[in-house]
């Protein structure tokens, strides 16, 4: 501060300051106007843009999942309901360090690699901000408690209760009702995103799939105001979801249980139909699986176990299993022969135990053929051919009918097509024809092929459902009722694209009478000595308290070489014959038609017929109902 002494020029300095301060204030006003301009721009010019942004911030549309329709059996018993399931979910926006959070969760309730993998996969799927992503399903009460206690240390981790499908009968109804599965990314691409926006599951097989649109219900929504952390502050407006329709099926749980028990641990299927309505009362395929496993996602090892099992438990034998029908189609061939006038009730053949075509050395054996030519049924008319299940009679008849007429007549009974109204994926089986063989194998139809068809072997394939349907049509004397699962509701008609087969009305009454009475003798003709009794009498007919018409079938799995005797115990279990039995009862006023299949089960009369009898017994005799034994 050593300045040369000089007087300060106060006037000059205050002039400088005046200029600068006034300039400064001018700049201050200018800059304030810039601020004003910016705010004017934001608040007036771009107001609508920011107003929209602000609303998008706070208003979220949340889907309200409808409650899936319940499924009842014919007695009103619940066979598919919804129960709360507790899932551990993570809202990723609230998580600071995902790996750390996953580590904590693993410590608390355990996490498998596949659960983490699944979670990360779901994380990549499209979702709204602050939408939680499930990490672990079906928490136990203990898990819930453990997570709840530690939740404060894990922001973003929550336990959510959701209603999920539950099948109270577990395995029993698996193949009858089908099941729902978790919606995956592939489903999402084809589904209506809006309709499924609140729903995690979709009917994947069976009834759950076919009636999906009815069971699903209508999604509701609510517009909510949320804060920046996604917490709902208030509900602005909402539309409640409409629950899915409840379905009542023809399936009878108790009958289903009887059928399942009767099959026991054997592989096979039982289908029983109410001849009055076509309603499927029993649809059992064994072994089965617990559909509840699939609802929230089955772990890979368990799934691989089911998928790769030699017993194919996931396979629905009742509607997809295709087997040779064996002798069960003999009544239909007899009927065709009578209708076509090729045979009459008095027509007989002499059965030496084998059949051969002219100019062909191959022997087509009867089932009681023995080496040395001592077998055979002797003199056989149609009735006897049926209750003794004589092969040679039907070799003859088949050859005389020819494949065209056989094809035409069997088709009337639903073979080679799917006649079920609400089982669109049921297999069609195979009803061979000249054209079919030419188209698929490039070979002409040989007379030997027709001979085999005569006893339901060779190329022909049927499903248990188809044989039960055929039994129903016989029971109804040609009047068609299409098999169906659903008992009531007009939905059925809306969904179905299956045409209804025409009634078989060209068959005269006496032909039906003869066919049905012969089938009745299969069960009831007894005490006539071996060789004269009905094939099933010894096994089910001796004490039967009602009238039943039936027909056994035994379908070989491997061809038997010429000149070789069929030795069952030498065959490996899985090469043994399939056992069939079809039946309906009571004969005069049929209330149940049934088909039983036992895979590699052996003889039809011996093994399949008792299963049918147990089911029919239960249906006809339950309660105090007693039926008069008829002639």
């Amino acid at each position: 501060m050593v300045e040369p002494l000089a007087l300060k020029d106060h006037t000059g300095e205050s002039k400088i300051y005046f200029e600068r301060a006034v300039w400064g204030f001018g700049i201050l006003i200018f800059l304030t106007l810039i601020l004003f301009a910016q705010l004017f721009y934001l608040q007036i010019v771009q107001h609508s843009i920011y107003a929209t942004l602000s609303d998008k911030n706070r208003i979220q549309i949340q889907s309200l999942a409808p409650i899936r329709g319940l499924i009842y059996d014919i007695n009103g018993e619940l066979i598919a309901d919804n129960i709360p399931s507790y899932n551990l979910t993570i809202t990723i926006e609230r998580v600071d360090d995902l790996d750390e959070t996953l580590g904590k969760v693993e410590e608390l309730v355990g996490l498998s690699d596949s659960q983490i993998k699944g979670f990360r996969k779901r994380l990549k799927q499209r979702r709204r901000p602050f939408e939680s992503v499930p990490l672990r399903f079906k928490l136990s009460q203990e898990d819930i408690a453990r997570v709840s206690v530690n939740q404060y240390a894990m922001p973003g981790v929550e336990i959510e209760a959701k209603l999920v499908r539950h099948y109270p009968n577990g395995e029993l109804m698996a193949h009858a009702v089908g099941s729902v599965r978790r919606i995956n990314e592939k489903d999402m691409r084809r589904l209506n995103r809006v309709a499924y926006s609140g729903t995690d599951h979709i009917g994947k097989i069976g009834i759950e799939r076919f009636y999906e649109s009815d069971l699903l219900g209508t999604v509701g929504y609510q517009r909510v105001e949320t804060n920046a952390r996604g917490k709902v502050m208030k509900i602005l407006d909402s539309a409640l979801p409409i629950p899915g329709k409840n379905l009542v099926l023809h399936v009878d749980s108790s009958l289903q249980q009887v059928a399942s028990d009767a099959l026991g641990h054997r592989r096979g299927a039982v289908v029983a139909i109410d001849p009055a309505t076509g309603g499927i009362m029993v649809l059992v395929s064994k072994p089965g699986y617990d559909p509840n496993l699939f609802v929230t996602g089955i772990d890979h090892a368990s799934y691989a176990g089911l998928r790769d099992s030699i017993d194919v438990p996931l396979f629905n034998r009742a509607i997809h299993g295709q087997y040779e029908p064996g002798s069960t189609i003999k009544p239909l061939l007899g009927l065709a022969g009578l209708v076509e006038g090729i045979i009459n009730p008095e027509f007989t053949i002499e059965d030496p135990g084998w059949f051969s075509l002219p100019n062909d050395e191959r022997l087509y054996r009867d089932w009681n053929w023995t080496k040395g030519g001592l077998g055979g049924h002797g003199i056989v008319n149609l009735e006897r051919a049926l209750y003794r299940s004589c092969n040679v009679y039907f070799y003859n008849l088949a050859v005389k009918l020819g494949i065209e007429r056989i094809h035409e007549h069997l088709r009337l009974f639903g073979f080679g097509r799917n006649t079920a109204l609400d089982l669109p994926r049921a297999s069609k089986g195979l009803l061979p024809s000249r054209d079919w063989k030419k188209n698929t194998r490039g070979l002409p139809w040989f007379p030997g092929d027709t001979v085999n068809i005569g006893i339901g072997q060779g190329d022909m394939l049927v499903t248990p459902l188809q044989l039960a349907t055929a039994a129903t049509v016989i029971a109804n004397r040609g009047k068609w009722v299409s098999p169906r699962m659903l008992k009531e509701g007009s939905e059925l008609i809306e969904h179905t694209s299956v045409f209804l087969p025409e009634d078989i009305d060209l068959v005269p009454d006496h032909v039906w009478d003869l066919t049905i009475s012969s089938m009745k003798k299969v069960v009831h003709r007894g005490n006539k000595g071996f060789g004269e009794n009905g094939t099933a009498w010894a096994y089910i007919g001796q004490d039967i308290p009602y009238s039943m018409a039936g027909k056994s079938g035994t379908a070989q799995v491997v061809g038997i070489k010429q000149g070789e005797e069929y030795k069952e115990d030498e065959l490996q279990e899985r090469l043994r014959k399939h056992a069939w039995f079809i039946a309906f009862a009571p004969v005069e006023n049929p209330r149940i038609a049934i088909a039983v299949l036992l895979e590699n089960g052996g003889g039809g009369s011996q093994f399949a017929a008792p299963v049918a009898r147990q089911v029919v017994d239960h249906h006809l005799l339950r309660g105090n109902q007693r039926l008069v034994v008829s002639e």
Binding site: M1, E3, A6, K8, D9, T11, G12, E13, S14, K15, I16, Y17, F18, R20, A21, G24, F25, L28, I29, L31, T32, I34, L35, F36, Q38, L39, F40, L42, Q43, I44, Q46, H47, I49, Y50, A51, L53, S54, D55, N57, R58, E225, T226, N227, A228, R229, M233
Partner: protein, 379 residues
């Protein structure tokens, strides 16, 4: 402008005896007091909304305002001559405290800004420097011929640079910038030749790329975010997007007091401190903003008038600088919240929630009032 000003026109040469009003007696300037209270009350109303209508924080802020008012009144009683004599000692004290802060400072969020004597007080020496830097420069130029010579400018620049660099090292870039700006304002008001002004501006622009690399990552990020907030809408851009959304959605008259969705649903960050003007803009619209801006301009206008009436260089430069620095706060804060400037932590004066800055601001205006009310009444 008042009659007083006319009599001070350069060249008039004389100051006549004037009537001594009540203001002079209690050493308060009522226009300033009324404007400050108006802004503060308006601020309390906005704060009441910003804190979800809890009375607690509003009461706390009112108590701070009360304390600040007392500080202002006390500062106004002290003669400017005392400030002039104390200036160098306060400057040295301030530097010492900054040094102590650097050594023993209390660390919050990675920066040492606080001196803490447990149980006695928490104190930010940089806050003191907001007033002391204009004081030391006004003191320095008080005895010098104006406009300043180059060597004086070198000394003055040094006096600015030392505290600014010390505060920048804490690091507290926002405060360092504001204090640096207040120092430069003194130079400008002292009549620094305009060629220096434009020369340094050109230099600063030329040096900008080099300065860029001196900035820390988060500081670079703030500037990048300003240029394109949508580049990281959930991260660095969130604050600015949400504040612009709050402001823009307010429209002309706003969503209504207490009705702001951006602020009450927590989309707006720091809604009661640095971003509080977004609450005002959202709830009372451009209309509410214009009221606040008008009050601010009137307040600063009164400050400029007072500085023009000051009788010596110290009084002129100090009151002028305090007034224009106040505008720097206003401009930087509103500019930042409305997306014109990068995000720097500067509160909106007299409105944002918080104690220290209010006390400093009021103390500054207390000094202005002291300068205005201690004028010699006779020639």
């Amino acid at each position: 402008m008042s009659q007083d000003f006319v009599r001070h026109l350069p060249g008039s040469g004389h100051v006549y005896r004037r009537k001594s009003g009540l203001g002079e007696k209690v050493h308060l300037d009522f226009p300033l007091v009324i404007l400050m209270f108006s802004i503060s009350l308006y601020g309390l109303l906005i704060l009441f909304s910003a804190v979800e209508q809890q009375t607690g924080p509003v009461l706390a802020q009112a108590i701070r305002l009360g304390i600040a008012t007392v500080v202002m009144a006390v500062m106004a009683q002290i003669s400017p001559i005392v400030y002039l004599r104390l200036a160098p000692w306060l400057f040295i004290l301030g530097l010492l405290l900054l040094g102590l802060t650097y050594l023993f400072g209390f660390e919050v969020n990675g920066s040492k800004r606080w001196l803490r004597i447990p149980g006695v007080l928490n104190f930010q020496p940089s806050e003191l420097m907001k007033l002391v830097v204009p004081m030391i420069l006004a003191w320095y130029f008080h005895d010098r011929h104006l406009p300043p010579k180059t060597k004086h400018l070198v000394w003055a620049s040094t006096m600015i640079a030392i505290p600014v660099l010390m505060i920048a090292a804490q690091p507290d870039l926002g405060t360092a910038l504001v204090i640096g700006a207040s120092g430069l304002l003194v130079l400008l008001l002292a009549g620094i030749p305009l060629r220096f002004v434009f020369g340094s501006l050109a230099l600063a622009l030329a040096a900008a790329p080099a300065l860029w690399f001196l900035l820390r990552d988060y500081q670079q990020q703030r500037i990048l975010t300003l240029l394109n907030p949508e580049s990281d809408p959930l991260g660095a851009g969130w604050n600015i997007i949400q504040s612009k959304t709050a402001i823009g959605s307010g429209g002309l008259f706003g969503k209504g007091l207490f009705q702001g969705t951006q602020s009450h649903l927590d989309f707006l960050p720091e809604s009661k401190t640095d971003f509080i003007i977004a609450v005002l803009a959202e709830e009372l619209g451009l209309f509410g903003i214009v009221i606040l801006l008008t009050l601010y301009v009137l307040l600063m206008g009164r400050g400029v008038i007072i500085s023009l009436q000051a009788q010596d260089t110290f009084g002129r430069l100090l009151s002028g600088t305090i007034t224009f620095t106040f505008f720097v706060y206003v401009f930087v804060n509103i500019g930042m919240v409305s997306g014109l400037l990068p995000v720097v932590g500067i509160p909106l004066p007299m409105v944002s929630y918080g104690g220290t800055s209010v006390v400093t601001l009021f103390a500054g205006f207390g000094m202005i009032m002291s300068i205005h009310t201690h004028r010699r009444l006779t020639l």
